[in-house]
Symmetry: D2
Subunit: 440 residues, 4 copies
Amino acid sequence: MKIPKDMNLSVKSLGETNISSPLSKHTECFEDNFFFTDSKKMRIRLDAHITPEYSETKNIQSFELAGPSRSIYFEPKKTRAAIVTCGGLCPGLNDVIRAVVMELHYWYNVKNVIGIRYGYSGLATNPEYPPMKLTPDIVSEIHKQGGTILGSSRGHPPVNEMVDTLVHKNINILFCIGGDGTLKGAHALVEEIERRGLKISVVGIPKTVDNDIPFVYKSFGFKTAVAMASQVIDCAHVEAVAAKNGVGLVKLMGRSAGFISAYATCASGNANYCLIPEMHFEPKGPGNLYQHLKARLLKKEHAVIVVAEGAGQHLIGDSGLCDASGNKKFSDIGRFLRFGMTDYFKSEWDMEINVKYISPSYIIRSVPANSEDSILCADLGRLAVDAAMAGKTDLMIGHWHGEFTHVPFKAVQGVKKRVNSEQRLWTSVLSCTGQPLNWW
Amino acid sequence: MKIPKDMNLSVKSLGETNISSPLSKHTECFEDNFFFTDSKKMRIRLDAHITPEYSETKNIQSFELAGPSRSIYFEPKKTRAAIVTCGGLCPGLNDVIRAVVMELHYWYNVKNVIGIRYGYSGLATNPEYPPMKLTPDIVSEIHKQGGTILGSSRGHPPVNEMVDTLVHKNINILFCIGGDGTLKGAHALVEEIERRGLKISVVGIPKTVDNDIPFVYKSFGFKTAVAMASQVIDCAHVEAVAAKNGVGLVKLMGRSAGFISAYATCASGNANYCLIPEMHFEPKGPGNLYQHLKARLLKKEHAVIVVAEGAGQHLIGDSGLCDASGNKKFSDIGRFLRFGMTDYFKSEWDMEINVKYISPSYIIRSVPANSEDSILCADLGRLAVDAAMAGKTDLMIGHWHGEFTHVPFKAVQGVKKRVNSEQRLWTSVLSCTGQPLNWW
Amino acid sequence: MKIPKDMNLSVKSLGETNISSPLSKHTECFEDNFFFTDSKKMRIRLDAHITPEYSETKNIQSFELAGPSRSIYFEPKKTRAAIVTCGGLCPGLNDVIRAVVMELHYWYNVKNVIGIRYGYSGLATNPEYPPMKLTPDIVSEIHKQGGTILGSSRGHPPVNEMVDTLVHKNINILFCIGGDGTLKGAHALVEEIERRGLKISVVGIPKTVDNDIPFVYKSFGFKTAVAMASQVIDCAHVEAVAAKNGVGLVKLMGRSAGFISAYATCASGNANYCLIPEMHFEPKGPGNLYQHLKARLLKKEHAVIVVAEGAGQHLIGDSGLCDASGNKKFSDIGRFLRFGMTDYFKSEWDMEINVKYISPSYIIRSVPANSEDSILCADLGRLAVDAAMAGKTDLMIGHWHGEFTHVPFKAVQGVKKRVNSEQRLWTSVLSCTGQPLNWW
Amino acid sequence: MKIPKDMNLSVKSLGETNISSPLSKHTECFEDNFFFTDSKKMRIRLDAHITPEYSETKNIQSFELAGPSRSIYFEPKKTRAAIVTCGGLCPGLNDVIRAVVMELHYWYNVKNVIGIRYGYSGLATNPEYPPMKLTPDIVSEIHKQGGTILGSSRGHPPVNEMVDTLVHKNINILFCIGGDGTLKGAHALVEEIERRGLKISVVGIPKTVDNDIPFVYKSFGFKTAVAMASQVIDCAHVEAVAAKNGVGLVKLMGRSAGFISAYATCASGNANYCLIPEMHFEPKGPGNLYQHLKARLLKKEHAVIVVAEGAGQHLIGDSGLCDASGNKKFSDIGRFLRFGMTDYFKSEWDMEINVKYISPSYIIRSVPANSEDSILCADLGRLAVDAAMAGKTDLMIGHWHGEFTHVPFKAVQGVKKRVNSEQRLWTSVLSCTGQPLNWW
């Protein structure tokens, strides 16, 4: 899916920023450009992580740098903000919530902050669970816990209804922490808000444990998930080494993007094959996976295979099912390989192999954020507040080439990052594993 | 299965201990009883962890305390020892190997130590993999790695053949690290060794991640496995809390004994139900699991269930399969509950629940030993060497009520520890979970 | 200091237990002896961990086993309990608090529980900080945090004043979590309570990161501290190995008992010398530390020394200072060795050594409890509630030879556990390190 | 110190690259530009992390991108490579060694690789320790260990002597892993190599736990050190919270750059003050540290201070000492604050504060690399091999704005990165801590 070439990618504002930022009082002794970033533009390089069709979008030349503004739109004392977390868990959700609350409270003097419960469903007319008040005391220790204190869910009530709730609760700013679907929902909210002529800012903080949102280098929680996944690969390695013809097989998250598998493979250093959705592979036949694996076993007596859940789907047929977010449910490539491999080696080569299968599933995403992700989450939360207080809307906070940016929701809709065969990441995988290049 | 009441439970010796222990030279300045433990006897209390039929075995009144002897049987310079690791992995295997090698080398001056590869299969006449030499340099850092540097496997070649190999390789001492089956095999070796009138000591170090070997309080690696399992339960808790009617479901190892599940439940503090093989439960019907779970969800909106793989087997039928050690393969209670629960809540009460299923499998057993287990493994390895050098044989090192003991192989054959409903552990589980008592 | 031989070691009770325990209703389907432990007695073996003078105390023949009683003293609905944490931090304090609250609330229906702030100082007439209400909701996640949510402090207000406060706040049960000094204070409270003829139960839960309270095998938090200390030793090992003549030097807690140092040495497997208060050593002179170290460096090029803060005090003179608990402040043996060693090797042997000094201090005690300690803490909290509800008083919960017991405060006063040279622990240390025995 | 404006920053080559890279055979099915990066140039933005004087260096317009070349200079079969690790430890050294060996062996077919022992001292004419052979088998598991298997040291023998050794041992490529001083030494080697007209490539991999080498975003091991430091801050927070007027004080590495302190402050979220060398602060006087701290304690009862070892040196005087690398030895700001603070609060305001001081020292740098650093190290090692095999020399591998580059040694000499008050990092610190801006 292409982005229309005439899309307007400039960031929307609710209006004039006539109020001096409370942050200004801290900056007397600083030079002018300490905090304030409005005018700067960042040139975006559309490099290999983005699918080719996306890089053709010639109208994305630059993004605004994120950062605090000297003048802001919302009057702090009258401002009421809400936070919502949607979709699957990701390490760092609580870190982001904490940063938003802390920044609003201590730096912008916005004391009215509420947390919407269980994703967008908490914005229904009569939600099962009322919002919770969020204060520094309540959030001060939550960044050491996994998950989200707000709860989460997939899907959403009618957009109309959600905007009614925002109006009814006098919410001026809504922070939406979520992935693909959530950001799409956030954009729909903006459209309805504009239709009604309301002055409500909607700012997104992109969340995807699969790391597949464009213009986000490594999304928050991703590094933590990779660290956990890497430990699991090490476990599989230990099991494989200890068994005769031991094959450790690890199935990791990654529906359409194999970033977790690829990075965890590099981090562990113990995987010999990394199978991801972006790279076609065949198990059987000359020069393919099983034959290569056989050669390795004869030489080294053990091997470790990492497979992303979305890899090799052509081998197993479509399950035909979808979850509440509309995501396709995948057939199980892990179990397919686990049993298929054992049988094939037995029947084809009369060779007994010893497959040790590990599917860590939620383990890699429900742990607390590690220190790298905590740093990132705190920055994201803070910059989302900066954007919202300045009256900007219809955008998420991006992170690209070391800079945080304002990325309009539309710029990421319908586009997903992929591991690209022509980039350093995949070269690193090939180098780490020693797996052949010519399956692809 | 009962132990014959007339069983001879005294520990066997290969002969007179005429050689002064090399340890003696260290002890000049010490009082007489510093190292030497031969004469002491330990009264064994046969308490609740042991199944009732076992406690009837009236002839087990006491066990020898383990420890170094003033005089030993084997002449260090002429002694050649071998180590073998069998069965599934367990944290601490490398710690035990290291301790045996270090103790033999530095304290007993036994420099000839070899490692048998891949379990008993390495004792076949022409093993696929020859033994490896073991020296302090080779083992000095292995205790920080999971698994076993020797490899492991299930089953064994004919006993006759294994004894031939021991003879052929001039092995005087064989250390067998393994579980139920391994220790049974070790006893068979002893019988054949005696039949031939050989002077080879066979000493076992009990290994069971399920913690089901009698006279072993917490077997090595068990605490590490519990620690890992506890973290997984915490993950399930995080997932459950974040979802509406979220139910975290964790399947843990534990074929016929639920120790891992029970202790991990206590360690985590976040589980609400703990289902183990020893305690019958029914999912459906008044007052049973699903109904109790429903009540909890209505009140607390989330719950965590821990289930041992061997629990509720009456619900799912026998798979009819066995592994190479002759262990019954279990049908999958985890998947049964995962899908069964969702369907039942939907059809019976039109209630949508959100099951988050985690099956950590090998993750909990392939990590390095934690510090408690490292301490235990070092002690076990050391004491196994003490016993063997003194010419004792046909025994394993036990650990009961804070003391290490010599336990004849026959004393543990055909008997398994179980979680008993009348003991503190199960009371602790009930207290931690709040689960009802009257399913049982 | 000896315990008077005529000391009455039976446990005190406030009166008749006429109320049926709320736990009884759960036990219909159980056999009689499921929960109830009153009549059982445990024979205590006074073994090597206790100093000889203590083992002479012939009147300690047995202790009551801890556990719930069928009939209790306090009427749940009218009962008001308080918890206080005193002295230095220890992993697991929050676990104990949580267990006490949970057990009181869910199993005994005692809903009035308060937390005294900052140790005994919170029992002053006008404490700086008022007590906090404790409910299951407040404590449900605290066991994953280090420290104590109540705060802690050393010392205490006049006993009279503290009892006034207990009376004024209608407290029936006081749980005192603390060490030597705290338990002494608790006993003083009991004496004043008895003097006034009040019916207030005071139950202690022994806390000592040094593991030096008698009749407590491994005190809660100790295993966690050992695990942390063991990691620090590994760090020192890494530093030592990487430097020419590298000497890793680690100073650990342990004022008069070297348990942390001894166990951490065994757990790490990487230490070559372990110096503790119980074992005299000399650095200089033939056959002493520096000379042995020199020989090792010439052979292995690196070494690791673990030293407890209370070791070698004869070498450095008394600081003459005490802290608020009356504990002697130690001179710094770590810095003494660090610089002394470098100078001595230089001046005596013109040998450049490379000392890498690590003093982890609070790091090993301020982390959350690991899983073993979490299990222990939950049991201790629970059993303290059982004892208190049954009207028992003037006791702490002990843990010896695998059983939890009721230990009268007086039995532990003025006596400390020591690492004894004639026991397995020290043998293990000698075996792990290879350090000479004849310094002692 | 400024870089001369006429400095030649292009990368040096030993000569024509006439040999087809062994990597080429893997790339048949790939597009041309898969591996090969020679022609690309990266525009370097000289942003805030670099000190202003450096950014004036107008002649640094671009750096070569690192990556494999289609044609290489050294014939694999005849090539002999050496690796040396110098200076203080840093997490990931073993990862880099492993990656270099693996890449040379498996991808470039260079089987002759040796490891120089204990830094440059191993290149002396008669080194105490001979080099060790490095093979895939030897390095395969080392990335899970902290430290360096080669050993390290500071300083170096005469350059002349080191080049003699390289010649004598037929070394064609030398990989130097080290910091400032090491890279300076590497450049000196290149000058002598050129003087003699030799064809030896010298490639550096920058190592600095302080993260102060220019053109390296986050140097390898830095993230791991930050993660460890962040945990220590959390410990200090736990201690501070539990004490009345508790002040956790953590001293971290950072001689002239406060990156570890700044990032660890952001990662932990629990620090209230972050004192670094780049930012002047005064403890006493109106509006300064102690007064601000007092205000906080009165409100919150606890605080955490993070101080880099190089901060506040104007307060304590110069120690006047240097280490073997010529680095100035610092006076101890940690102890200065620890005691100074307590005394000042007592004497000035009669206020008892409770300082809990933690100096983790080597703990943060001797642990194994975490997964992020493992990924980085593997990339750095690989790219160093690519550069060397292509005959490039006199350069280190840089990492800037998401790209790996070739940075001539001269470009980084005498220049150090600093935390700059006008950049996002310091803004994040201010936001996380809430510390005042106007000390500076």
